[in-house]
């Protein structure tokens, strides 16, 4: 099972099968993420993006095959060790009433602490760093329910950052945010990748944002990987038709030279 290329890959799947009860969502997935890159998963609603991301974070049981973390079988590792190496922010989390931003971010230290947590200096530093990276320092004492959607999302991201993991998985981190807050989250992901060398995997819906902010794109359709590669190689008219059922003009982004997509018709 331990192929040499897996040792270099933060997360790989091997004949991974994922199902809810008897309905198989992902029949047979072989996927290998590249270290130190920003990877975006794109695909239509219901194609299994969240299901795959959750399996990569060990949030759901697998029906067959396995996931490896740098070549080690994910399911055989202790839960807290996984949480020290890999942080996952699921879609639309809800906090208990009355929880403050700072209290939430402190939970990010849970995997680093023992059975009876004490607040060590390095924990305090990590929390302060996570708050400042997300621009949430000034909101530390606020309860989450007294924040805007964008601020709340940044508070959750801060919690994941406080885990100080090398790998960060974000499921639709920009959904429900206005455009400037979307860019803020994407730039944060990019900065964490460039400055800290974190491996970032996101599920994104906006194709142009995915192209612009990712080193690698994984396009999914019906629980399978349709294409994986650099944005300029993956985002082709054929892919837009096959995966999204769209006809689109592809322009060239003046900044990056990558494709810029203007959909103009449905094919089905």
């Amino acid at each position: 099972m331990n192929r040499p290329e897996d040792l270099a890959s933060p997360l790989s799947t091997h004949d991974l099968k994922l199902a809810y009860g008897t309905s198989v969502i992902v029949p047979h997935l072989n996927l290998s993420l590249k270290a130190g890159q920003v990877t975006s998963i794109i695909g239509p609603n219901g194609c299994g993006k969240s299901t795959v991301l959750r399996a990569l974070a060990r949030l759901r049981p697998v029906s067959g095959g396995n996931v490896t973390l740098y070549g080690q079988a994910l399911h055989s590792l202790p839960s807290k060790e996984v949480a020290r190496r890999l942080a996952m922010l699921p879609q639309g989390p809800v906090a208990p009433e009355g929880l403050s931003v700072e209290e939430l971010v402190w939970f990010g230290r849970h995997p680093h602490q023992g059975r009876f947590p004490v607040r060590r200096p390095e924990d305090r530093e990590a929390v302060a760093w996570a708050l400042s990276q997300t621009g949430m320092t000034i909101f530390g004492r606020r309860p989450l329910e007294a924040l805007s959607g964008g601020q709340r999302q940044r508070a959750w991201i801060a919690m994941s950052l406080a885990q100080q993991t090398e790998i960060l998985l974000l499921d639709e981190p920009t959904t429900y945010l206005d455009l400037s807050h979307q860019l803020e989250v994407l730039q944060l992901a990019q900065r964490l990748n460039r400055e800290q060398g974190k491996t970032v995997v996101m599920v994104l819906h906006d194709l142009n944002q995915a192209v612009r902010y990712s080193d690698e794109i994984i396009a999914m359709r019906d629980g399978e990987v349709y294409a994986q590669g650099r944005p300029e190689d993956v985002l082709t008219p054929a892919l837009l038709t096959d995966v999204f059922g769209l006809k689109a003009h592809l322009l060239s982004d003046p900044d990056t030279g990558r494709p810029y997509i203007i959909p103009y018709a449905l094919t089905r």
Binding site: S23, S79, A87, M88, P90, P111, P117, R141, A146, S160
Partner: protein, 338 residues
């Protein structure tokens, strides 16, 4: 705007207030009742019992009854807090898994069918009834669980089903054996009247241990309360932790039902009050819930003794009457938030 996370001084104030309230409740409970004993005399008798009737009343009647009420109140309230946290259901309480219905049914069965059984068996029987009801709810939810697993909603629905089934059984027995069931009526409404030292010692180890464990596990409730996905991604072993904490909630509830009968609302309302005072951190809200739960049930029992003096009113009825308006308030608050 409301700030989450009180300053240190605010917390100290709140906990001091809660301890004072508990002390006040204890003293009132020793002093008030069919006969009134002045506080100075209570204090004196507490440390130096004599042969007087007052001394007998304080030591043989009011002290065990007060301690039972306090322990049961704390246990019920903490049980509610644990279940609300673990299931992320703000309306969860010890009744949600059928514990109270199971305990009540067992009490009635003992009174009607085994009237000659030694009195020491009544408490364990009721305890067993509560635990078995919860186990039935759990396994019903488990066997019906599909891919989505054992969700809190599924568990709550199974609990409601078990509770109404047991409720129907209880009422049938009451109707079929009307005369013999008379003796259980008071107990079935929830009461601490006439509780003895022996009964206290039967439940104290369970409830005491349960409360200590709950305090030790408070930090884990915090993590679970973030929801299963977040808790797992933080490295918590959610299935194991929520099973352990649910079991703890069941033992606390069954222990208190076994000695005071079914008393609603305490497990639902006191945790909300505690959280409103100190916030979402269970390391604070759990001890506060225990203190307030104890004080609340003791005070309710004092009221039950004096409201229709010299007759006793079942404290469960009083709590229900006082609790209903709070419940409406709570529902409105939660409704507004959603």
């Amino acid at each position: 705007m409301r700030k989450a996370g009180l300053p240190q001084s605010g917390r100290v104030l709140i906990f001091t207030g809660a301890w004072l309230l508990l002390l006040l409740a204890l003293l009132a409970s020793l002093a008030l009742g069919a006969s009134e004993i002045p506080l100075t005399r209570v204090a004196q008798l507490l440390f130096a019992p004599d042969d007087s009737t007052d001394s007998l009343v304080v030591h043989a009647l009011r002290l065990p009854r007060t301690l039972v009420a306090g322990l049961a109140g704390a246990a019920l309230a903490v049980s509610g807090l644990l279940l609300q946290g673990v299931t992320r259901n703000p309306l969860a309480d010890p009744g949600i898994l059928g514990v109270e219905a199971g305990g009540a049914c067992a009490i009635l069965v003992m009174v009607v069918f085994f009237p000659a059984a030694p009195s020491v068996l009544f408490v364990p029987a009721a305890f067993l009834g509560g635990v078995l009801a919860a186990a039935a709810a759990y396994s019903a939810a488990h066997s019906a669980a599909n891919s989505a697993g054992l969700t809190p909603l599924r568990l709550a629905l199974a609990g409601v089903a078990v509770a109404s089934l047991l409720g129907a059984a209880t009422r049938s027995v009451q109707i079929l054996f009307e005369t013999r069931a008379q003796g259980a009526l008071f107990a079935l409404s929830g009461s601490v009247a006439g509780r003895t030292w022996e009964q206290l010692w039967q439940v104290a180890p369970w409830l005491g241990l349960g409360l200590v464990l709950a305090l030790l596990f408070a930090a884990r409730v915090n993590v679970l309360a973030l929801g299963e996905d977040i808790a797992s991604s933080l490295g918590a072993r959610t299935a194991r932790d929520s099973a352990v904490l649910t079991a703890l909630g069941v033992v606390l509830a069954a222990g208190s039902v076994s000695v005071v009968g079914p008393i609603g609302f305490v497990g639902l309302l006191v945790p909300h009050a505690a959280r409103a005072l100190v916030g979402a951190d269970h390391r604070l809200s759990l001890p506060l819930t225990a203190l307030l739960g104890a004080a609340f049930l003791i005070l309710a029992d004092v009221a039950a003794r004096v409201v229709d003096r010299p007759a006793e009113t079942p404290v469960g009825i009083l709590v229900a009457a006082a609790g209903a308006p709070f419940f409406v308030l709570l529902a409105r608050r939660i409704g507004r938030r959603a």
